[in-house]
Symmetry: C3
């Protein structure tokens, strides 16, 4: 039995076979891989695309999704081993995960970090605990990485670019009123490097480097694929000749949970919105962003509304790649 | 492709064919018009009957409904064209509507007005924007009109009265502790006039006239059907010889969003609750009200619990008419 | 037509036949007893297991569940006969129950007591009113009793002990930071006594006796089965030779809604957590608790993680017994 917590644990070939299967499901959406099976979707945070695409995808494969909104509708859960549970949580993850596994054949979880203590949160404690105690496969619907989004992004890139090996992928930090989760940024560099692209990161200042786990992994994957990994604060250099631009905003980890001090560094990226002038520096690049996306803050209307924009296709692909992944996980699980 | 935003855009014959199909579905509820299809139900406001009847209706037609509670569970959405999105909304309706259209085959929306600025809200901006950007049909589950309720009301009236042409329909304002949305009142006069009934409105004062768009439309539809449209503040005159009484409470538009000044006008309707004495003035009329309904404030128990009351049948009919409408919209859309 | 509001109204033979059918459904989960049927699940309180197991169970029987979270998503409801509804509630249970009955074939309700006035709340007013006005069967998903949990508990006990007649069942009060609902305690003694077990209750003080309705019923059922019913505050006496230990914490009814005065009595149970020393006094007993359950407050980790613990099986059984009960209720209803 295997979980889908991060693409780090999945080989390039395995991921490619998921993408190939997703293409088949896109043209022939109905199936019976989940016939007689149930999937529990647990949300600790808001969702539009994720809940819609998983719920519909499960149904199209003949299964039944149940949605558990973990705030208010269910019980707070304890994660610590051996805890004397005399505080808030009424239930231990050992029981919650084991019981859900008796009802459902797959458990999918969305749980964003709490922006309190990165040293603790980089361990992704909630989904890790569910994966440890569940007796069915667990799927990550976004925690500190967003592997389903990675697959959707790569499917859209391959659709437009064909084989992406050796193509130049730019992940650019873009402005946003608030410091955000690094999950999609982590995921973008993991997937682009895993699939053989040259990966560049454009950030306003080195404080915006991602956690070393993801920087190191991306560098390692690039190395394995004879591709280049680089980081720059220079806009012209970053965009020059890029084939695929991916936008994301995130908070600088050195100021995690104490964001006041981040403001001067954030100000350095004030001009980082993707616009026509920057796009003119690229090699006719495509542009994308996971949704939701603030228009005219992260990406100018003229770029979003141009044929270069892949965001809608990428969002649609969530449906297809998730179905392919669920199919694979239950096949492995039924073994 | 066609939306169902208001019955104003649908002809009498078209609406009658929906009602006829609803009768068939009432006696034979299972079908496959939505087989392999998904319907997104978006709620910005509470709902009991609407969410139940749509969810069950979609299932009975072989499809799959997903429910999106837009408050808390999903992202706030921007509607303005060209907006620099540096405020609250994380997402533009252009993306939200297009992506939902990739997942779902129909999108149904409930969004009440906010009681802030009628000049803006009478344009029904949210559902109008979704309908503009969605690439699948959009259904109104109550905004500033409530067209599904209209169909349910008319089905109940035809069941009891047969052909309603030339029958006298009374929409009476009734008391309620708070000023309410005019949606059901607008809808009641639109549908009754469209189907050839003589329409009377009983209001406590002329400040309770509905928006001119609906007053004018009702007058026009009555004219096309050689029926009469009239407004009165006289209870006896209003009830005299009526065949169908429909109750609703609403706030006076001149005081929209600044309700303090409405109190003296509202006081004029203090005696407008429907009771046996008023019903005795009618031609053995039926009575109805969309639900929820405050007993002994809007309608006396003795009337609600009499055979004249159609409210339960009308509520049940929501299921049947919505199924007939969804069937029609996907046929047109696939067609 | 019959409701499932409490096991008090169901005979031992009837309950046993539900348990037997649940065993069949456990080994062969898919069915069509609910084909073409809908089940409305109304939640006034949080739920993990109940909503998951009902939703999945309905699907496995070919039906469709709709979930109504009654807080925020739907309208507040009036229960008083003849009320002049000029307060908070927009809708009377007479309409809500009758309309839901037009859409759904079964209505299941979770509504905990409000901890305000036990004399009123012991009448279980909400579910009683729904059962009175609904025209389809109503199922209790926990109010002041929890009959679905009872069935799940008994299925787990029979699986481990075989025929439970004459076996010694101990319901022990256990510590918890807050006073809780008596529902599961009431239910545990009802079911154990109904099925012929000798029932002992261990409580910190006589103020923790359950409502006389349940004490009397348990004593009566024990009498009918030639079994013994007893209450003690002595730990050693309670555990001596027990075959099945069931844990639950609850608030003392004399302090209902005014809990300050309960503290000195609660302190007498400070040592009541189930641990290895207590278990050593039993006749190799099994242990269970409905979930959620606070580890190391109610039951020590060493006991929860031992083979004696039935809590996970009991939780899984919720799925099977509820399916068996729904099957029975629709058969009776259609019959």
């Amino acid at each position: 039995m295997r979980h889908f917590l991060s693409t780090e644990d999945w080989s390039r070939n395995e991921l490619q076979s998921i993408l190939d299967r997703a293409r088949e499901l896109r043209s022939s959406p109905m199936g019976d891989a989940l016939k007689g099976k149930s999937v529990a979707l647990m949300f600790f945070n808001p969702s539009l695309r994720t809940r819609s695409s998983f719920d519909i995808g499960v149904h199209q494969l003949g299964g039944h999704a149940i949605i558990l909104d973990a705030q208010g509708q269910t019980w707070p859960v304890e994660f610590e081993e051996g805890a004397v549970m005399d505080g808030g949580p009424e239930e231990h993850v050992k029981e919650a995960a084991r019981v859900l596994s008796r009802y459902a054949d797959l458990i999918a979880i969305r749980c964003f970090p709490k922006f309190q203590d990165w040293e603790a949160e980089r361990e992704d404690p909630l989904i890790t605990a569910y994966a440890k105690h569940a007796t069915v496969p667990v799927i990550n619907m976004e925690t500190i990485v967003h592997p389903c989004q990675e697959l959707a992004m790569m499917l859209a890139l391959q659709d437009r670019h064909g084989d992406v090996s050796g193509k130049d992928f730019l992940l650019t930090w873009v402005p946003h009123p608030k410091p955000l989760n690094t999950a999609v940024a982590n995921s973008a560099v993991l997937m682009a490097s895993k699939m053989g692209m040259n990966v560049r990161m454009l950030i306003p200042d080195e404080v915006y480097e991602l956690d070393e786990r993801y920087m190191d992994a991306a560098e390692r994957f690039c190395g394995e694929n004879n591709a280049r990994f680089s980081v720059t604060t220079n806009v012209e250099e970053a965009y020059a000749g890029a084939h695929a631009v991916y936008a994301k905003s995130w908070g600088a980890l050195p100021f995690y949970g104490a964001w006041e001090g981040e403001a001067p560094y954030r100000a350095k990226g004030a001009g980082f919105m993707i616009d026509d002038a920057k796009m003119a520096l690229t090699d006719n690049a495509t542009v994308s962003h996971c949704l939701p996306m603030r228009r005219n803050v992260k990406i100018a209307d003229s770029v979003v509304d141009s044929p270069a924009f892949l965001g809608i296709e990428e969002a649609e692909n969530r449906l297809h790649v998730q179905k392919a992944m669920m199919e694979r996980l239950v096949q492995d699980s039924d073994g």
